[in-house]
Symmetry: C2
Subunit: 455 residues, 2 copies
């Protein structure tokens, strides 16, 4: 029997057809391509034996839904993936056309190969084999393939609210979220949240001449700089009163995972020409996993053209995002920063704070979660060693939405790897990764089917 | 006898011809117009009886020079003005064409009417009358009409160096530099200097993702903000070590002038929608006249587009100009700020400081200067009250250049007024101001001719 996704196999042909469709959700003209992708996937799902295949509408590109619920007494798994892809630009940096799947050196190159069409295809092929060989699935499965992941899942919340009943499940197994490194088995057990705001200060009705007003007039750029500087202490800690109060202290299992994790901050930063900075009271891995940040994404005010201009800026501001730790509420964090800014704004400046919508909480998979345990066992057998638990410092809105709206935990189990240039030219996936994915998904599902289920 | 510059008079016709020439020094295509303006003025000077009329070259638009040196035992006055004008843009805001002198309500509208062709014409007409009526001038006069004042006098330094001998004089009487207010007689006795620099910080080779690096990577925008914030103390004073050390303390006459000067900082700032700020240890007028500033003209770094972007900026910076007080050396001030920035830059950031060229010292007319005394007496007689002495917070490179290169003081004695929209659409000059100018220049010159001169 040939390896899964080897050239010429039916599943490879199906994946290549899927990769040929430019389902770029950010492109306003992608409607037909998005529909093509859903149609292809719907046909595959029907061929596997899935039922209730339907498009779910949240106000944007619809998601594709399918279910197989004939395993009474067994858990119901929500399988998540997405069929939209990033734009292929810059096109001239691709070595082969982005929408023509091309194999080179054991890797399949195409936009979406790694994020997320390849991993979705691997999961579907695992289901297909199980169904073909055993006449059914070991657990109940609901499949949700999103069409707006690459544009920030902007309508997923509405979609989940609208279809909460249909999507109810015991946990989510996600075919998205890349493996960290090809040489080290890991399982992701959490993410940081996010909140964003922007502040602006105004010190006069217009920019003023520094000769005529210098020494008596307030300077908005100086005020903005002082406000930004006030947000952190000299030692790098966040100086906003109350900001860290709700941060959950990691439990012993989480702490042990952090200590076991091979993380060399100097090396990681040297790769990008930087040296470590941040709150020295915590180890770098703790800062990345368990601590919030308050990041200045941009600061602006006054003249930034060539040469010098003797102007006293009347307006200035900064853009801020916070990566949130477990326990923190995005709205409360924004409120605390706003209160800090109000408190520190001098009387000669007018402050306005704009809260960006769409805050997301951090997620934290319970250390003893049954789906996490099953995935870890599968990975341990596949990799020959027990996977390390890791958290990621970034934010996955999906995981937080599933927790908040559906009340379920998500375990990420993608067969892609973080070095496969997703979101960049020459995106690709290892064929060995696809094969791992098929075997891994099958193993997890069978493992769950064998396990006692109290539900 | 008709009022000077009344419609139809020869001097009015000559001024109108001069105002019709678009001698915009900033316009690369203005060469012919600049030449036309010099030719017209050279003809006028020759008609008055000036000799040695010649164009002086400093590398840019030439200056026009003329002399009359037949008053032995009398001082030699360098009379300064400029024949170039600001660009007329935005054209659609002019109520009459910028290069067609148009009288409305006792004012003559045209680009250059107030700055500086009108005041130059008034001075020349005063000289013309003196020469016609007395057959000579009461003092020796050298005339220098610059062609690059509106582009920062960029070649005046070279010109003065090149023609130092020819331009030697006992003092400069300037037909540039507007009167402060129409209702309050003032004489300007000094200006602040200027120095400029820009700093940039780099914290990584590229912008970083705040999810992947937030908490362990340095943030250039934050570093720039902290550096900017470090430049001032909480109370508004400049925090740069040594920066204020060389500032000359005002003498009792200067201090008395500041106390006598009607200056309402609240009102001045309310006009521009601001409230006072600055070093509270000094009165507002002292801050404007006697104290240096360190102004943030611009701050920049990271993302400033719409919405939010989860980026850790790798580069940021700020533009700074300093208005300098008497006693301060521009180069030393830049060095001190650079040293401060180096000292405050954290080890995880790379700092680069760029010193803008062209620093200018503050100027300070000695309280007992003979030319100042003469001008004050003239103004007192014309206005019916003794003029107040004032300093301006801005910088006049010419005054500093005359002091540094020619070793002479400059007294500003323009008949324009600061409210006449120079550098803006609908520039104009009061015809009454032109008449004041003719009478005033004549009175000063006669006064100087009568005074004992030890030179």
């Amino acid at each position: 029997m040939s390896a899964p996704f080897a050239a010429g196999t039916p599943e490879r042909e199906r994946l290549e057809r899927l990769l040929a469709i430019p389902s770029v959700s950010a492109d306003p003209a992608s409607g037909p391509a998005m529909g093509q992708a859903r149609a292809l996937l719907a046909g595959w799902l029907a061929a596997i034996g899935f039922e209730g295949i339907v498009e779910l509408d949240g106000g944007g590109h619809p998601a594709l839904y399918a279910e197989w619920l004939h395993a009474p007494g067994k858990p119901t798994l929500l399988v998540y993936g997405h069929y939209d892809v990033q734009p292929p630009d810059p096109l001239d940096l691709w070595e082969s056309p982005p929408f023509v799947a091309t194999e080179r050196d054991g890797r399949l190159y195409a936009r979406g190969a790694s994020d997320d069409k390849g991993p979705v295809a691997a999961a579907l092929f695992a289901l297909e084999r199980l169904m073909a060989e055993t006449g059914g699935l070991p657990v109940n499965v609901k499949i949700l393939l999103e069409g707006e992941e690459e544009v920030g899942s902007r309508t997923l919340g509405a979609l989940l609210e609208r279809h909460r009943e249909r999507l109810s499940a015991d946990a989510c197994l996600s075919a998205d979220g890349a493996r960290w490194r090809p040489d080290l088995p890991t399982v992701n057990v959490g993410t940081r949240g996010i909140a964003a705001l922007e502040f602006r200060v105004r010190t006069a009705a217009k920019d003023l001449h520094s000769g005529r007003y210098g020494g008596i007039a307030p300077n908005a750029a100086q005020v903005a700089a002082r406000l930004v500087a006030s947000l952190h202490r000299e030692d790098g800690a966040i100086a906003v009163t109350g900001f860290n109060d709700d941060v959950t202290t990691p439990d012993p299992v989480e702490r042990a995972a952090a200590q076991a994790f091979p993380f060399d901050a100097d090396a990681v930063l040297a790769e990008v020409g930087a040296v470590p900075a941040g709150d020295a009271a915590f180890a770098p891995i703790d800062r990345l996993w368990f601590r919030p940040t308050l990041e200045i994404n941009g600061i602006f005010g006054g003249y930034d053209g060539p040469g010098s201009k003797t102007v006293i800026p009347a307006r200035a501001g900064a853009k801020i995002t916070m990566r949130l730790a477990p326990g923190q509420d995005p709205a409360r964090c924004r409120d605390l920063v706003e209160a800090h800014l109000i408190r520190h704004c001098p009387p000669f400046a007018t402050l306005s704070v704009h809260h960006e919508e769409g805050g997301v909480e951090a997620t934290r998979l319970p250390s003893e979660h049954w789906l996490l345990a099953a995935v870890e066992e599968t990975v341990a057998i596949q990799a020959g060693r027990r996977p390390l638990r890791m958290r990621i410092g970034a934010t996955l809105p999906i995981t937080a939405l599933f927790a908040r709206i559906l009340g379920i935990e998500t375990v990420m189990f993608s067969c892609s790897t973080a070095d496969e240039d997703f979101h960049a030219p020459n995106e690709h996936i290892r064929l060995s990764g696809l094969a791992d994915g098929v075997a891994g998904w099958r193993d997890v599902l069978e493992r769950l089917g064998r396990a006692p289920w109290p539900g």
